[in-house]
């Protein structure tokens, strides 16, 4: 069991302007095969990654927003969002996508694993992780 680690993916960049948000997601998707305890945290401009309603039809870029909604199926257990980062950007919980999660063995279900946290709590969550991937 010592091979199960607490992974935290730290996302601080806006989507589309750079590829980091999308290539970070690709790690999360691939990482699902490794059965770790996986959380994502969105802070600073990273909170923009979860805003619903993205439309790339006129920019000819791949719209990867739908992928976030499926993360529950890829073993992601928590998606934390920094409250202060949201507020500075004029955003609220209503602007964000919801991500459902289900444990197929225990049939435990969670409607939405996206959770808004205070900065102190965010800091603690990162400190309690064993690996922080930065993008």
């Amino acid at each position: 069991m010592s091979d199960i680690k607490k992974f935290m993916y730290l996302n601080r960049r806006a989507p589309y302007g750079t590829i980091y948000a999308w290539e970070s997601l690709e790690v999360v998707l691939i990482g699902a095969a490794f059965d770790q305890e996986v959380s994502l945290i969105f802070a600073d401009d990273g909170v923009f990654q979860l805003v619903k309603g993205s439309d790339t039809s006129e920019s000819d870029m791949k719209n990867f927003m739908p992928t976030y909604r499926t993360l529950g199926d890829y073993g992601v257990r928590h998606m934390y969002v920094d409250r202060a980062s949201l507020a500075a950007r004029g955003l609220s919980e209503d602007d964000l996508i919801e991500v459902a999660w289900e444990d197929y063995e225990t049939e435990e279900e969670v409607d939405n694993i996206v959770e808004i946290v205070d900065t102190d709590q965010a800091a603690k969550l990162m400190a309690e992780s064993e690996v922080v991937f930065s993008f």
Binding site: A14, G17, D44, V51, G53, D55, S57, S59
Partner: protein, 102 residues
């Protein structure tokens, strides 16, 4: 004599928009593209700065970049003109030169 300033960085991450405003003369135009369009959003910590600049500068934002970032028309600060790439080309022509503030 008027210049077009392009800004492609989020105002929450980098100081490009602030700098472009500071170094642009009254009568200049500022065009937000890429992550720069976050500066066009209502209700953010950058709104006052943008509105201040709009008193004597014209501010534009690129439509396809707003759309990709889920910034609908009703979230865009009033007075900011939303343009497409053809409009971007027209702006370049209408101004004496273009300065990229990256």
């Amino acid at each position: 004599m008027s210049d077009l300033f392009t800004v492609n960085k989020s105002p929450f991450e980098k100081n490009s928009l602030e700098a472009a405003i500071k170094f642009s003369l009254a009568g200049s135009s500022i065009l937000m593209i890429e992550d720069g369009v976050y500066g066009a959003m209502k209700g953010t910590a950058a709104e006052d700065m943008v509105k201040g600049a709009m008193s004597d500068r014209k501010v534009y934002a690129l439509k396809s970049d707003l759309m990709a970032r889920a910034i609908k028309d009703d979230r865009v600060i009033e007075g900011i003109e939303v343009i497409d790439y053809a409009g971007f080309v027209d702006l370049v022509e209408a101004n004496d030169k273009v300065q990229a503030w990256v």
